[in-house]
Each structure stands twice: as structure tokens, then as C-alpha cells.
């Protein structure tokens, strides 16, 4: 076994040191009926070459090299080469939670920088070190709002990612958090009238996504005013942080803006990777920090007065508070957080602005081209890099030709929004060339 540093000879010597003849004796205190009496039905150990061959074959059975117009919470953005080169250093990826700050300053400083960049990007006052992903971040934000307000009702826009809403439903199902969904208006944005009617004195939080699941851009101030009118908090869901390079951020704005941001960081250099691992993050007002779940890194001084960083405010967390903790979460997806940090440091403010503008421009070009070719593009409100187009026939009928042309056209919305008919959610990022877009338009509008 190439991973094991112990030879048979040394094993024998170590067993002899323990007064044992055979490794089985190490397990002799385990009752007989608990011991497996046969080898596992798993093939013997394989070489690295065999393993690589197996995974190459599996990769080929997916869709390598396809032009993809899928978004819906997982976004294809170019990943600079140095992200994996840096994150691939063993000092980053073979370390664990920085419980020993003296030999973990790399991880701790990078998280402190991450928290800062998330604050700068969102216009919030504090950010945590990360949570699992955007979907679970929404749940954590809702629980946080309930703790702060002492209320339980959650008002959730139907234009939040359907899977995020499913997760929220699952994770609250045995506790008393009534969920109310608010629909969308003809322009593809939150129905403001329905929202105003849904919020009441029992509402803990209003949750709104922007750009929303249809790709249209919501107005944070209006949503905040609707929530705050009844003393509820506004939770902002952001599924692609690239949008914040250009669009007005979900800022705290004194008391008038967003109260909690629940954001998915995948778009910042984390591989799309068939859905994970990703990293979510929560950002909020300073006054809510003790209700914030997840790890936090803070600045500290050592005995000589030098600056260093530590995990802090851990009295909120499960390893201290057990059943009274703000959450059961341990991980902060640190390696994904590192990738996102390297991405932000690499692009900088101007790079992010250009990146966001390219995404917005390419999606606008695609939507216009589809419309010009006779397709029905839904929802006139301003968009970022996604939009909805209604096809004349179901996507399945086009699938054989799309597959042959090595194009993944987008996400059929029938499962989650049956009222939209043969609607397709299309995402266009900077990775799509004009030629790819023109091919897509041709295939979707072919008579």
C-alpha cells in the first residue's frame, strides 16, 4: 500500500512492543458478533494509472467541451490558473480548522481578508468566515432573523432559487416557522403589492434574491422598506457574486438597507464541479454579530504586541454552547473561501466591474438576438446575465440536435414554474463567445 509508511517488519516490531503476536489482537475486545468475518467486497488496491483511466472515462461520459448556457445558481466563469496552483499547496489544503493560531496564521489572515472583501463588496458591516453554500446560507439567515426579531414567519420571494426554497422548507419542517411565498409581477420582478400584503407584525424576515432566479434585477431599497414597515428584517440572496462588480450592492445603508446578506461565492473561482463543494457567506450589521452563525476570525495581539488573527466569539458556536448554539455548523468551506479570495484579489475592483459588464452585455446580446429571430423573451425588467425565453416546443424535442451540436441550452423551468410553459432559463457569461451565442440562437429558433 503506497500510502502507508509502515513496513511489515516494523509492524511486527511494534506489535511485539505491545506484547501482541497479530494485529487481530488489537481488535479482540470488540465482541465477536461485531467483527466482519470476510474481506470487503471491494476490488484490491489499484494503481494511480488505473484510477486516472477510470475517472477519464467517467469524465468523457459527461459533457466535456460543451458550450453551456446553464446558470441557475452555478456559474461558468473563467478560473485563473494560479487559483488551483496556490490552493493546491499542501499548507492550505492539508491543514485543518485553525484552532492553533500560532501555526495557522496563513488560514486565519486569509479568512480575515475574505471577511473584509465580502463587507466591501456587499456594503455590509461584518461577514462570517463562510458556510456550506448559498442554499444553506438562506436557512441560516432566516434562523438568525428569527432570533433577532423574536418572530417566526418567513416571507420568501418565489423568484428565489427553487432549490434554496426547498432546502429552507426541509430544514424548518419540524419547527414552527410558517413560510409564505410571494409571487412575481409581469415584469419578472417581485410583486410589490403581494409583498406588502404578506408582511405583518409576525414576520421575522423577508427574503429576496437579486438578480432573481429569472435573472432580473430587484430593488433593495423598496424591499427593505416593505420589510421594515412592519419591523421585519430584509434578507438579500445573491447567487452570483460577479453581479456585485457592477450592480448596486445589498448594503446596510444605515438603517434603511439590507439587514442580512446570504450569498453563494461559487462564481468567484470555485469550480462548478457538478454542484459542489461551494461556499456560502453571511454578512450583516455589526449590531447583529452575536446572532451570526459560523466561524469568525478577529484581529488580536500577541504578548509582544504583534498583530495576529484568531477564531473569535466562539461562545455562539456548538462546541461551546452545544444545544444552545446559533447553529450546528462547524465548517466554513475554508478551501473554497480561499479560492474566492484569490479570485477577488486577482480581479480587483476594476477587473470585477469589467467582468460583470461583459456578462451583462453578452446576455443582453443573446436575448436581443433571440427576440430578433422571433423567440419570445419573457420579463422586460432589467437583467444581469440570465433571462427566460419561451420555446415553441418543449426542450426535450430539441435535445437530440443540441447534444449533437455540443450545446447545453439552459434549464427548462416547467418543473418549478409550470405556469410559464416551455420556458428556458438561459445564462450567458464571459465564457460564451459570440459564435456560441449565435449557434444557440440558431438552434433554438430554427423553424
Amino acid at each position: 500500500m503506497r500510502f502507508l509508511p509502515t513496513s511489515d517488519t516494523i509492524r511486527g516490531q511494534m506489535l511485539a512492543d505491545l506484547g501482541l503476536n497479530h494485529a487481530d489482537e488489537l481488535f479482540s475486545h470488540i465482541p465477536e458478533y461485531c467483527r466482519l468475518q470476510r474481506p470487503l467486497a471491494i476490488p484490491p488496491g489499484q494503481s494511480e494509472a488505473e484510477i486516472v483511466r477510470y475517472f477519464r472515462q467517467a469524465a468523457a461520459a459527461n459533457a466535456p467541451g460543451f458550450a453551456s448556457f446553464l446558470g441557475a445558481g452555478a456559474y461558468h466563469h473563467f478560473r485563473p490558473a494560479h487559483i488551483d496552483m496556490l490552493a493546491g499547496r499542501g499548507e492550505w489544503f492539508t491543514a485543518y480548522t485553525p484552532y492553533q493560531p500560532e501555526i495557522s496564521q496563513g488560514t486565519l489572515q486569509s479568512i480575515f481578508e475574505f471577511q473584509t472583501m465580502v463587507c466591501q463588496l456587499t456594503g455590509q458591516e461584518v461577514a462570517n468566515a463562510g458556510v456550506y453554500d448559498g442554499s444553506t446560507a438562506l436557512h441560516e439567515a432566516c434562523m438568525m432573523a428569527a432570533r433577532i426579531t423574536g418572530r417566526s414567519q418567513l416571507v420568501v420571494a418565489r423568484t428565489i432559487h427553487p432549490q434554496y426554497r426547498e432546502v429552507l422548507h426541509t430544514l424548518t419542517r419540524y419547527r414552527d416557522f410558517p413560510l409564505v411565498e410571494v409571487g412575481y409581477a409581469a415584469d419578472g420582478r417581485l410583486d410589490a403589492t403581494a409583498l406588502a400584503a404578506a408582511v405583518s407584525a409576525s414576520t421575522a424576515a423577508v427574503a429576496v434574491q437579486s438578480p432573481n432566479f429569472f435573472g432580473t434585477i430587484e430593488e433593495w431599497q423598496a424591499a427593505a422598506a416593505a420589510a421594515h414597515a412592519h419591523g421585519a428584517l430584509l434578507i438579500a440572496v445573491v447567487t452570483d457574486p460577479v453581479s456585485l462588480g457592477l450592480l448596486p450592492p445589498p448594503a446596510a445603508d444605515g438603517d434603511d438597507g439590507v439587514d442580512i446578506v446570504a450569498m453563494e461565492m461559487q462564481g468567484f473561482g470555485i469550480p462548478v464541479g457538478f454542484g459542489g463543494p461551494y461556499a456560502g457567506v453571511l454578512a450583516t450589521r455589526e449590531k447583529f454579530v452575536r446572532n451570526l452563525p459560523g466561524r469568525l476570525v478577529g484581529e488580536a495581539r500577541d504578548r509582544e504586541g504583534r498583530r495576529g488573527f484568531v477564531l473569535t466569539l466562539s461562545t455562539r458556536e456548538q462546541h461551546i454552547r452545544r444545544e444552545k448554539a446559533t447553529s450546528n455548523i462547524c465548517t466554513n468551506e475554508a478551501l473554497c473561501v480561499l479560492m474566492a479570495s484569490i479570485f477577488m484579489a486577482t480581479y480587483g475592483p476594476e477587473g470585477l466591474r469589467e467582468l460583470a459588464l461583459q456578462n451583462l452585455s453578452k446576455a443582453a446580446y443573446a436575448a436581443q438576438a433571440l427576440q430578433a429571430a422571433g423567440a419570445e423573451v419573457l420579463f422586460p425588467a432589467p437583467r444581469f446575465h440570465e433571462f427566460v425565453v419561451r420555446l415553441k416546443t418543449p426542450l426535450e424535442t430539441l435535445q437530440p440536435v443540441l447534444t449533437r451540436e455540443r450545446i447545453i441550452a439552459g434549464l427548462a423551468l416547467a418543473r418549478h414554474y409550470p405556469e410559464l410553459g416551455n420556458a428556458l432559463l438561459v445564462c450567458v457569461t464571459e465564457t460564451a463567445t459570440r459564435a456560441d451565442i449565435d449557434r444557440l440562437v440558431g438552434l433554438l429558433t430554427k423553424p
Binding site: 500510502f3 502507508l4 509508511p5 509492524r11 488489537l26 458478533y33 461485531c34 470487503l40 471491494i42 476490488p43 484490491p44 467517467a58 469524465a59 461520459a61 459527461n62 466535456p64 446553464l70 452555478a74 461558468h76 485543518y96 480548522t97 492553533q100 493560531p101 500560532e102 496564521q105 481578508e113 471577511q115 466591501q120 456550506y132 426541509t170 430544514l171 419540524y174 456585485l244 448596486p248 469550480p271 462548478v272 464541479g273 454542484g275 459542489g276 463543494p277 461556499a279 488580536a300 500577541d302 456548538q318 462546541h319 444545544e323 447553529s327 450546528n328 466554513n332 468551506e333 475554508a334 486577482t346 480587483g348 475592483p349 476594476e350 459588464l357 446580446y365 435535445q399 447545453i408 463567445t433
Partner: protein
Amino acid sequence: MNPLPSRAARHIVQNEPLLFEVSAPGKRGSQLAPLDVPIAAPPAVRGAIAGFPELSELEVIRHYTRLSTWNYGVDTGLYPLGSCTMKYNARVNELVSRLEGLGDAHPLQPEHLSRGALAIMQQLSRDLLEITGMAAITLQPAAGAQGELTGILMIRAALSARGDARRTVLIPDSAHGTNPATAAIAGYQVQNLKSNPDGTVDMSDLNRLMNGEVAALMLTNPNTLGIFEEDIHRIADLVHERGGLLYMDGANMNALVGRSRPGDFGVDVMHLNLHKTFSTPHGGGGPGSGPVAVKRELEPFLPIPVLVTRHDGGDDGRPDLDYARPHSIGRVRAFHGNFGMFTRALAYIMANGCDGLKQTTEDAVLNANYLRQKLEGDYAIAYATPSMHEVVLSDALQAPHGVHTGDIAKRLIDYGFHPYTVSFPLVVRGAMMIEPTESASRADLDDFIAAMRAIAEEARTQPELVTSAPHTTKISRLDEAAAARRPILRWRPA
């Protein structure tokens, strides 16, 4: 100060300011391809991102390279952090998870273009079921703690379907803090269960507390003391007789793989930590992955979608995603879970195979027992009961000199080691929880033993050397109390 063992030496460490302090206006680390469509006018534009860093590419590389040298990882040396299973992370696992077609696969791409990814999930599922002896599995939970929550929600759903959700979850006092936090999120009250003098479940306490209101017992086996619950069958029988279910926290599965299967000793629901037992990298604190395996009667409650095998082609069976599960608890995370961890875990299982997995377990247990034998005498052993893959010592012999577990841990850093887990489990005063894993060579163990013995000697003769450690690191002990009193959680311009 004693001379350092040959393993550690002093070394230049580069200082590196925060990104924001390196930043200067106008620098760029990225360049986009020219836009090949007309520029569109955005509806509304944000103001400048104040303070956001501006660096060249080389400065980014140096920044993160320098920061990395301040960390200690498994690649650096022995990392005996108890209950965390800090084992070697093979590089081939990183390579295969990034292959084109896998690393860039979209979770919503059509199923006929996802066959390879689904086949990986299917193979991993089969192997994990064989290893655990369970009947069905979900790979969706993002981490161990989310696996726990998924499992407890499934228990709640199953008991509700019987018409009796019950109110309480029993948890031993040696359990990881996530267990009670999880039970609370699932809407249960937590009842603590005492450990007996052997460090295992106190059967009389269990007998007293296991009543008609108890939904489940959450047990870690081997427990956090590194002790196998020898009464596991009696425990399972008692819980089942009184209508409850047995949940097993699989954090310590590295002690059992190929040797003992939870499905064979009465466990109904369990989670695995792919980042522990199955070598997916810990990443500085994630990502993890927490698959949940269950007995047949809990299968209807698995989160959707459920990965199923369709036998429609006469072959081995085609993997497919099943959404039509009326009793499912629902989805616990967007998409399919941490797929990148599935490729790595499967690559680990393939590399080891049945023979290597069993040998791995034996070596992990051998290493822990070797440490235990060599350190006994210099340190107090918390429980006389045999150890599995980890051993819990205490600072009882050092505390009279004013030296505590946290001090010994800091002093180990000077000797070139990552410390053990400090002050956990809570049932042991001054706990030192040591898990060497199979990745430690005898030479690693002997050096570690020599360091621990030297520290025990220092604790007797010059305790202040230990209580003020570490002495060789970039920074000394930080004032954590002050940091928590007035938290500074972000950089601001001076």
C-alpha cells in the same frame, strides 16, 4: 530551553501585510478577452468598491504563498488532532476531481450528459454501503454536522409516519458538540447520558432514561474517548425495544473500516465524514462531506433526489435520479452535495482496495496503541479500557506544576508537531486527545513520544518554559479574551 530535536529548526519566515496594505490604485491582476458583442448599458451602477484590493498577478502569488508558509498541514508533519483523522491526502485525488468533464460539469446538465458523474456517485454509494453494512445512502449533506441533521430529520419523519415523533434525543456526555446542536435544530430536546467508569455508555442510566419519549440515541462508536462500545448490541436492543432508533456518528469510522460494520451491530442511521475516514482534504476548515446511510425501513425518507439504479438495458444498471419520493424529508442542500469530495473519496477507496482499507484500519489502531503504551507513565491515561484509533490522556500529572493540556499543546509546536485535540472530550479533565492515524510512521511516533517525554520533564523542572510556549513561532500566544471583548472582524483604512 532544551535543544530542539532534529525534526525542527529555525527558518526565515517572510512577513506579509494584509492584501489591502499591499494594494495600490491602478494595479491589475487580470485581463479579459475583448468583448465580442456590443457593450450594453447597465440599468443602475454601484459606486466604487471602497478599499477593495488592487494587485498584480505576481503580488497575489507571493501573498498567498507567504501566507501558506505560516500554516501547518499533514504535508508538513504529524498532525495527531484527535477525532479529526488527519491522514494523507493523495495528489491523484486532486487531479481526477479537476478533469475536464468533471470539474466543470454543471449540476443541472441533462442526465444523459451526466452519466459519468452519476456513475461515480453510484460506485461510491455501493462501496460506502459495503463498508458500513447499511442498506441505502444519500451523498447530499455538505458536512458531518449536516449529515447528522439529515439523519435526525429522517428519524423524525419515520417516527412521525408511525404516528409518534417523540420529544427527546439522548446524547452521551462525551459526544461532539454538533450532536446536541443538531438535535435542537431538528426540534428535539436533548437529554445527556452519563459515561460509566470504563468511558462507555452507562447501561443503567440508559435503562432509566430510554422511555417512550425518546426518539433516538445518538452514539459515536468508537466514542470520542477512542473506546469501542462493547455493549453495543444491548444498547441497540434496548433502544429498539422501547421504540427508538439508534443514530451513529461515524466520525471515528477510521477505526472500523474492513473490521466491523455498524449495520451489523444494530445502527439504524449513520453519517460518514468523507474528509476524515476517506481522505478528502480538510482544506483549512472545509469543505467536508457527510453522506448518511440508513437501514431499509428508513429509505423512503432519504432527501431528494435519490440516486437509483434503473435496470432497463440488461447491463450493470444505469444510474438515475429519482424525485418521486412522497415520504422524502426534502432537499438538504442545493444540487447533489459536495461532488468534488465524492471523486476524491472514491479514488481513495480504489487506491486502497479491500486489502489496503483493512490494513489502514489496523495501522491506525496499532499507532494509537503504540503511542499509548510509550506515553503511559509520563502522562495519565484517562481510561484503562482498550483504545482503538485514538487515545485520550490527561494532564493530571502535569497540572500540579501549573502546566495544563493547552500548555503542553503549545510546547509541542516548538518541537515541530501539530498539537493533539485540547480539552476534549469534556468528560476528561485536562484532556489530550491523540489520533496519529495510519499516516504516521514509527519514526514520526518515536519523535513525537520523545517530544512528549521532554515536555513532561520540562513541566516538572521548568514549567514556565511550557506555560509560555510556543517560543519559535512567527507570533506568540494571542490575547483571545481581548479579541472577543472588542472584536475587530475586518480591516479598515487607518
